[in-house]
C-alpha cells in the first residue's frame, strides 16, 4: 500500500440554513505521487471539495461532517493559525484564472516567492533560486529574466505557469489544480498541460486535478473520480474508466465527448445554395480613426465570405483572432469601417441606426453568456413577448400562443414561460436565448460562442438543436467558436481566423482532416483527444508547427 497524502472520509458540506448537500458523503484518497482527477459538470461539487482540502469553505456553505487528513493530520480539527501554516507549504492551490490571481502592480518574482517567505521556509535569495529552477521545469522562456516582469507583460499561458511555480515552490505534498487550463486557448492549453505533467512528475507531487474536460483529464490523471450532484458516481484508474465505464452517467459523459470528437458531417444536400449574406472586404476595429479612415486597433481585416440559406458557416479562432468582432460588425453592434455587408443583395448600413426594422429583424444574434443575455428582472414570457411586440405588433392573445410554440421549438416545456432566468439552468437559459432570436423569424442567425459556457452533455444537445432548427427553418447560421471539436458536428463550411485575418476557408470536413495552413494544422492538432498519451504526441507536433508559423510559412 502506497503512502497516502490525502484522505477524505465521509465529507459532507451543505449550503447554509439547512440547504441541500453540495458535497454528499464523499470519500477519496490520493497516494504519494499520484494525480487524481475530479471530473463533473457545474454544480457537481468538485471545486468545493478542492477548496476544502485547504480547509476553506466558500461563504454560504457549512461543513456538516467528515474528515480530511493531509499527511496524517486532520485539517478540519486544526486551529486557524496551524491551518494557515499548512496552506501554500504542504498544500497549494492553482486557480482557474491566473490573471485574476496576480497583483498587477507587483513583479512576478516577488509574488511567486511571497508565500515561501511568509512561511519562513526559505530566505529571499534561496526562494528566488528555487523559483528560477521551477520556471525552467514549467518551461517558461528565459527563466533567469522572466520573473522580473509584471503580470501584464507575460501571456495568459505563461501566467498560469507562474502560478504553478508558485504553488510548487515549497514542494507541497498536495497540489490542488482547479480547472487550470479551462480559460486558455487550445494551443496554449497543450503547452501548459505538458508543463504541468512534467513538473508534477519531476517533483513527485501528488495532485488533485479538477476539471470538466474529460480528454484533458485523460492526459493528466492516474485515477479519475466522476462526480455528480455532490456524490461520487464512479471512480477508477483512468484507462479502465475510459474504456469500460460501469455507470450510465459515466458512459453518457464519455459518449458526449466521443460524439463531439468523431462527428463529421457530410455536406448536406438539401441546401439550396442561395446566398443570403455576403460579406466583402470587411474591416472593423476599436479606438480613434487613423488618417486613412481605419480604426487605430484593427480587429478584423479584409474579411470576405458568403453565407447561403440552410448553411452553417463556422468562424474559428483563438482569443484575439477577431471572430467575435466580425460577428458584431455583421450584426451592427460594432460599426465596420470599410467593406460591405449585403443581405439578400441589399447593402446593410454599418451602424444599427442606419438599418431598417425589417433588416434588424432578419439578422439575429445569440450571445455567449447565457447568464447575462437575459434580463434577470424579466420573466421568460416577457423577454419573448417583447420581441413579438416590437417586430410584429402581435396582439396579446396570439403572443401567448406563439411563445408556447417558440418554447416547444427549442424543446422547453411551456411552464418555463412564467419563470425568471435565475430559476433556469445554464442549458435552459441558452435555449431561451435561441428562442428569443428565433422569435424575430430571422434569415441569419449569428451564434457567438453559444456553447462555450455550457457543460459538455448540455452543449452537445444545444448543438444538435441548432442543427435541427437550421434545417427546419431554413436559417443561414454564422457559428462563431473557439472549439474545433464543437464545429465538426455542426458546420458545413469553416473559416479560420488569426489576428483579424482569415487564414483558411473551406468545407469543414476538409479543414479538419486536411488543413493546409500551418496555423489551422496547429489548431486541429491541439484539440484534446479522449485517449491516453495524446498529449505526448501533440506537444512536439505543436512545437514544430509553431516554429513554422513563426517563420511565416
Amino acid at each position: 500500500m502506497k503512502q497516502l497524502v490525502l484522505s477524505i472520509r465521509n465529507l459532507t458540506i451543505r449550503s447554509e440554513g439547512g440547504g441541500h448537500a453540495i458535497v454528499d458523503n464523499i470519500s477519496l484518497d490520493v497516494a504519494k505521487g499520484e494525480v487524481v482527477a475530479l471530473i463533473g459538470e457545474s454544480g457537481s461539487g468538485k471545486s468545493t471539495i478542492g477548496l476544502s482540502c485547504l480547509g476553506l469553505f466558500r461563504p454560504g456553505l457549512t461543513y456538516v461532517g467528515g474528515d480530511i487528513e493531509l499527511e496524517g493530520s486532520n485539517l478540519l480539527g486544526l486551529p486557524p493559525r496551524e491551518l494557515q501554516s499548512l496552506r501554500g507549504r504542504r498544500v497549494a492551490y492553482v486557480a482557474q484564472s491566473a490573471a485574476a490571481s496576480f497583483n498587477p502592480a507587483i513583479k512576478l518574482n516577488s509574488q511567486v516567492i511571497e508565500p515561501s517567505i511568509a512561511h519562513g521556509t526559505r530566505s529571499a535569495s534561496e526562494a528566488l533560486d528555487r523559483a528560477i529552477s521551477l520556471y525552467a521545469t514549467v518551461r517558461l522562456p528565459q527563466p533567469n529574466q522572466i520573473g522580473s516582469r509584471y503580470p501584464h507583460e507575460v501571456s495568459g499561458g505563461q501566467l498560469q505557469r507562474f502560478m504553478l511555480a508558485m504553488g510548487m515552490l515549497d514542494a507541497p505534498a498536495l497540489l490542488v489544480l482547479d480547472e487550470p487550463t479551462s480559460a486558455l486557448d487550445v494551443t496554449t492549453q497543450v503547452e501548459v498541460l505538458m508543463a504541468m505533467k512534467s513538473a508534477v512528475s519531476a517533483q513527485g507531487t501528488s495532485a488533485l486535478f479538477i476539471s470538466h474536460d474529460l480528454p484533458v483529464v485523460a492526459q493528466m490523471a492516474d485515477r479519475v473520480v466522476v462526480l455528480r450532484n455532490g456524490r461520487i458516481v464512479e471512480s477508477g484508474p483512468t484507462n479502465e474508466l475510459l474504456h469500460s465505464p460501469k455507470e450510465a452517467y459515466t458512459r453518457e459523459l464519455i459518449a458526449a465527448f466521443r460524439k463531439i470528437d468523431q462527428k463529421r458531417l457530410d455536406i448536406s444536400q438539401e441546401q439550396d445554395r442561395k446566398t443570403v449574406l455576403s460579406v466583402q472586404d470587411l474591416s472593423a476595429g476599436y479606438g480613434g480613426r487613423t488618417r486613412a479612415g481605419k480604426p487605430s486597433v484593427l480587429a478584423v481585416e479584409n474579411a470576405s465570405f458568403n453565407l447561403a440559406r440552410g448553411e452553417v458557416l463556422a468562424v474559428v479562432g483563438e482569443s484575439g483572432s477577431g471572430k467575435t468582432s466580425l460577428a458584431q460588425a455583421i450584426a451592427g453592434l460594432l460599426p465596420r469601417s470599410v467593406g460591405s455587408v449585403r443581405l439578400h443583395d441589399v447593402e446593410l448600413s454599418a451602424s444599427l441606426g442606419g438599418r431598417t426594422k425589417d433588416q434588424l429583424r432578419r439578422v439575429q444574434m445569440v450571445f455567449q453568456m447565457a447568464d447575462t443575455a437575459l434580463n434577470p428582472k424579466h420573466t421568460i414570457a416577457r423577454t419573448l413577448e417583447r420581441v413579438l411586440e416590437h417586430f410584429f405588433r402581435l396582439p396579446a392573445a396570439q403572443r401567448e400562443k406563439r411563445i408556447e410554440q417558440l418554447l416547444a421549438l427549442v424543446q422547453l416545456p411551456p411552464e418555463i414561460a412564467a419563470r425568471y432566468p435565475r430559476q433556469l439552468s445554464g442549458g435552459q437559459k441558452q435555449r431561451v436565448n435561441l428562442a428569443r432570436a428565433l422569435a424575430a423569424e430571422p434569415d441569419v442567425l449569428i451564434c457567438d460562442e453559444v456553447t462555450s459556457a455550457l457543460d459538455t452533455i448540455v452543449s452537445v444537445a444545444v448543438l444538435d438543436l441548432i442543427r435541427e432548427l437550421k434545417a427546419k427553418l431554413g436559417l443561414a447560421v454564422l457559428f462563431v467558436s473557439h472549439d474545433l471539436a464543437a464545429i465538426s458536428g455542426i458546420a458545413d463550411q469553416t473559416i479560420v481566423m488569426r489576428r483579424g485575418k482569415i487564414v483558411e476557408a473551406g468545407e469543414t470536413a476538409v479543414i479538419l482532416d486536411r488543413p493546409k495552413h500551418p496555423y489551422t494544422q496547429l489548431l486541429v492538432s491541439s484539440v484534446p483527444e479522449l485517449r491516453a498519451n495524446w498529449l505526448q504526441e501533440a506537444a512536439p507536433r505543436n512545437e514544430a508547427l509553431a516554429k513554422r508559423i513563426a517563420a511565416g510559412v
Binding site: 439547512g18 438599418r355 434588424l360 455567449q368
Partner: protein
C-alpha cells in the same frame, strides 16, 4: 430568504426599526398626538417646567414636547421630498448619460463634478439668503445639491448594466432609448438605488437641520428640528435640555437609518450568495 429573516431578529435591527417607526408614526399623525398647540405660549417663563409639559418650555414659554413632535413632520417630510427629488434628477440624468455615452455623458459628468466641488453648506447659505427660507426653496435646494452624488452612483451602476448582453440584444433589435433605460436597465439597478435613497434621507435630515441650526430653516412660528436646537441653545447655560431633545431626535433617526440600511443590505447580499 431564511437567512434574511433570521437577521431581522437581531436586537440592533429591532431597536433601530422601532425608533424609525416611532418617528414615522409621529410625522404621519401630525397634529393628533400633540399635547399642546406648538405655537401657543403655555407659560410666562422661558425654559421652565409647566403643567402638562413633560419636557418643559422653550425660550418663549411654548411646550418643547409639542414643538419637537410638530417639527418631526417638517424635518422628515422635507428630507424625504428632497431625497426623492435628488433621485428623480440624478437617476434620470445618469440613465441618459449611461445609455447615450459620448458627449452627453461627458457634459453631464463634468456638470456634476462642478456641483460636487462646491461645498453644500455654502450653496445652502447663499440660496436661502437670496431666495428666502421657504419650504419649497429648502426642498429643491437640498434635492439639487444631493442629485450630484446620486448621479455618480446611478451612472456607475447603469454603465455596468449597459455593457451586458441583454441590453445589447435590445439595442440590436432597435429598441428606443427610453425602453432601454426604463425596462432593461432601471429594474436591475433598483435595489442599490433603494439603499442609496435611504442614506440620502439621512444626509438630507442632517443638512436641513444644519441650515436650521444656522437660522436658515423654516420660518417661525413653525420650526424643524435644527431650528429648535438653534432657538433653544441659549437655555443650555441655565441647565435647560430644550436644545438637547431635538438634537437627540436628529441623532436617533440618522443613526438608526444608517444602521438599518447597512445591516439589511449586508444581509440581503449574504442571502443572495447562497
Amino acid at each position: 430568504m431564511n437567512y434574511f429573516i433570521q437577521s431581522l431578529r437581531r436586537p440592533g435591527i429591532v431597536i433601530s426599526a422601532s425608533i424609525l417607526l416611532f418617528w414615522l408614526v409621529i410625522s404621519l399623525a401630525g397634529g393628533f398626538v400633540l399635547p399642546h398647540d406648538p405655537t401657543v405660549f403655555i407659560s410666562d417663563d422661558a425654559f421652565a417646567d409647566a403643567v402638562g409639559a413633560a419636557l418643559g418650555t422653550d425660550h418663549m414659554g411654548r411646550d418643547v414636547a409639542s414643538r419637537l413632535l410638530a417639527g418631526t413632520q417638517l424635518t422628515i417630510g422635507m428630507s424625504v421630498a428632497a431625497a426623492a427629488l435628488s433621485h428623480l434628477v440624478g437617476v434620470s440624468l445618469a440613465l441618459c448619460a449611461a445609455v447615450n455615452g459620448g458627449w452627453i455623458d461627458t457634459v453631464s459628468s463634468r456638470l456634476v463634478d462642478i456641483i460636487l466641488s462646491v461645498p453644500k453648506i455654502i450653496v445652502g447659505l447663499v440660496v436661502v439668503a437670496v431666495l428666502g427660507p421657504s419650504l419649497t426653496v429648502l426642498i429643491v435646494m437640498t434635492g439639487t445639491v444631493y442629485s450630484g452624488g446620486v448621479f455618480r452612483i446611478a451612472r456607475a451602476l447603469a454603465r455596468d448594466v449597459v455593457g451586458l448582453d441583454y441590453v445589447r440584444a435590445a439595442t440590436a433589435r432597435g429598441e428606443g432609448k427610453l425602453h432601454i433605460m426604463m425596462r432593461e436597465i432601471l429594474p436591475n439597478i433598483l435595489s442599490p438605488l433603494a439603499v442609496d435613497f435611504a442614506l440620502r434621507v439621512s444626509f438630507a435630515i442632517l443638512f436641513i437641520s444644519s441650515l436650521g441650526f444656522l437660522g436658515l430653516g423654516v420660518q417661525p412660528p413653525k420650526a424643524d428640528w435644527g431650528t429648535l436646537v438653534h432657538d433653544n441653545i441659549s437655555g443650555l447655560s441655565s441647565g435647560s435640555l430644550a436644545a438637547i431633545w431635538p438634537a437627540l431626535a436628529i441623532a436617533s433617526v440618522t443613526i438608526s437609518l444608517n444602521y438599518l440600511v447597512d445591516t439589511l443590505s449586508l444581509a440581503g447580499e449574504n442571502g443572495r450568495k447562497q
